[in-house]
């Protein structure tokens, strides 16, 4: 591993200055992604500025009924928090479905949002990868494509965004607070990650010197929520497809529905088209299938990942069916 220096700033201002002043500096959260990528030579840094000890570890109730989650809150602490479990079960479950107990105890909210893709060519230094090395080419196009995204892809990149947390956040209309020496700004979770386009190496709207300081959750949407993740093994694996859903049915009609899709997009995918198709009508499996078909109408597939279209349909149908059946005692749970 290429050597780097390590600093533990005393406060946010010092962290912002250190990264602002040092071109090769990077923020360090739990290290579960960055330390791995540094060791493999996929990422480089001259200085790691450890922000995991800053006082960004609070979960506070906001006046509007929402929650403000510090960027240093560990994934496990957020998932286990009583208010999150009760008011935002979709978020709790999304977190609990990610990685392992050890990794969740280390990983921070800010680091989770900035985690890099698990496309095998991204970490294979012998293979070309536009995300790692702009303009180098993409080995996945004619290689192993089973895990690739089907939505939001470009000629240059079809790598999937791996975060489960982010899929729940886009469904919940969360906002992400960014701080730099220039001040503080907020962006929507839905607009935080950017499509690969011509520059797959640019993954978010955040600049290198911008620290994620908090995730702001608006008051919970009405209805019941769940996160369902389908993968190659029952636990400790990334999603092939995942669905974050919050559904409110009033008098037999869908009053509101939020849908986020994981595993299918180059970014955490908010399924606006599907939501529009479902809202105002009675819920049925057929209707959900139509909605998912609309959402995935522009899907670009390879023979190896075309299964994700059908899998997304089935997963959405199963998730919404269960949320719509209040008598089902297992609703809200993952079987």
């Amino acid at each position: 591993m290429r050597p780097f220096d390590y600093a533990r700033p005393a406060d946010v201002d010092e962290a912002l200055s250190l990264v602002g002043d040092t071109p090769g500096a990077r923020f360090l959260g739990g290290g579960t992604n960055l330390v791995d990528l540094l060791r493999r030579g996929v990422e480089t840094a001259d200085l790691l500025v450890d922000v995991s000890r800053l006082p960004l570890d609070e979960i506070e109730e906001a006046a509007d009924g929402g929650l403000r989650v510090g960027a240093g809150v560990r994934n496990s602490d957020l998932a286990h928090h009583p208010l999150v479990r009760r008011r935002y079960p979709v978020l709790s479950r999304a977190l609990l479905s990610g990685a392992s107990g050890q990794l969740r105890a280390m990983a921070t909210v800010g680091g989770n949002l900035h985690q890099r893709t698990r496309c095998p060519y991204f970490t294979d230094l012998d293979a070309p990868c536009n995300k790692r090395d702009r303009g180098a080419g993409c080995a996945a196009r004619h290689g192993a494509s089973r895990g690739l995204a089907v939505l939001g892809t470009s000629e240059r990149c079809a790598a999937t965004h791996p975060s489960d947390l982010a899929v729940a956040l886009v469904a919940l209309d969360a906002r992400i607070e960014l701080a730099s020496r220039d001040g503080v700004r907020e962006v929507s979770a839905d607009g935080f990650h950017v499509l690969p386009g011509e520059t797959p190496d640019i993954e978010t709207v955040a600049r290198r010197d911008e620290l994620v300081t908090a995730v702001v959750l608006p008051s919970p949407p009405p209805g019941r929520g769940d996160y369902r993740k389908v993968r190659d093994r029952a636990s400790y694996a990334f999603a092939l497809v995942s669905v974050a859903a919050v559904l409110d049915v009033v008098d037999g009609d869908v009053a509101s529905v939020r849908l986020g899709l994981g595993g299918v997009g180059t970014v955490p995918w908010r399924a606006h088209r599907a939501e529009a198709h479902l809202t105002g009508s009675p819920l049925s499996d057929e209707r959900v299938a139509e909605a998912v078909a609309l959402e995935l109408a522009d899907a670009r597939t390879t023979p190896d990942n075309a299964f994700k279209v059908e899998l997304a349909r089935r997963t959405a149908v199963a998730t919404l069916r269960r949320l719509a059946t209040p008598s089902d005692s297992t609703a809200g749970a993952i079987a």
Partner: protein, 175 residues
């Protein structure tokens, strides 16, 4: 390229003892424990966060030594398998239930299970918990399997491990 940052003294409290070693910033907690402190009970399986063999407790939380920089643990209390044993009730239960074969994953399994049991006592749910809002979750075999999924065992000793964890959880002797 600029000269690499020099090694500097890092003080860790490991198994209740303060130790200071001269470390480069890139040194992982796992390497510091094994190479500097001579505590080779903690194992290096994948060095990539994928197997759990390197699990230790940092301030009571289970973490992966391979993805933690030693400097990140400065000022923290680190507990390794050497600080757990040699005859912790969970270790005896693992032996009794044949929860190991080659033993390579075992230190990580034991440390992970101790961290997991503490999470469970604090009321933490898991992905297989039906009612997320419940204050207490029964620690069934399915719960143990999900909560321990971050520890792989290439020998396939999982059934014995689950039995051992369950026995110790039920007797309350794991603290």
């Amino acid at each position: 390229m600029p000269a690499p940052p020099p090694a500097r003294p890092v003080t860790l409290t490991v198994n209740g003892r303060r130790t200071t070693a001269s470390l480069e910033p890139r040194t992982s907690l796992l390497d510091a424990l094994r190479e500097q402190a001579g505590l080779t009970g903690t194992k290096k399986g994948c060095d990539q966060g994928a197997c759990g063999a390197c699990t230790v407790l940092v301030d009571g939380r289970r973490v992966l030594g391979c993805l933690t920089l030693a400097m990140q643990a400065e000022g923290c209390h680190v507990v390794t398998i050497e600080g757990v044993g040699p005859h912790h009730p969970l270790q005896d239960a693992v032996v009794h239930h044949d929860g190991l074969q080659c033993g390579f994953c075992t230190p990580g399994q034991v440390c992970s299970a101790l961290g997991m049991l503490a999470e469970h006592r604090a009321g933490a749910p898991s992905l297989v918990t039906e009612d997320l809002a419940a204050d207490a979750v029964p620690l069934t075999s399915a719960e143990i399997r999900e909560r321990m999924s971050g520890n792989l065992c290439r020998c396939g000793a999982h059934n014995g491990l689950v039995a051992a964890v369950r026995e110790v959880a039920e007797s309350g002797s794991a603290r």
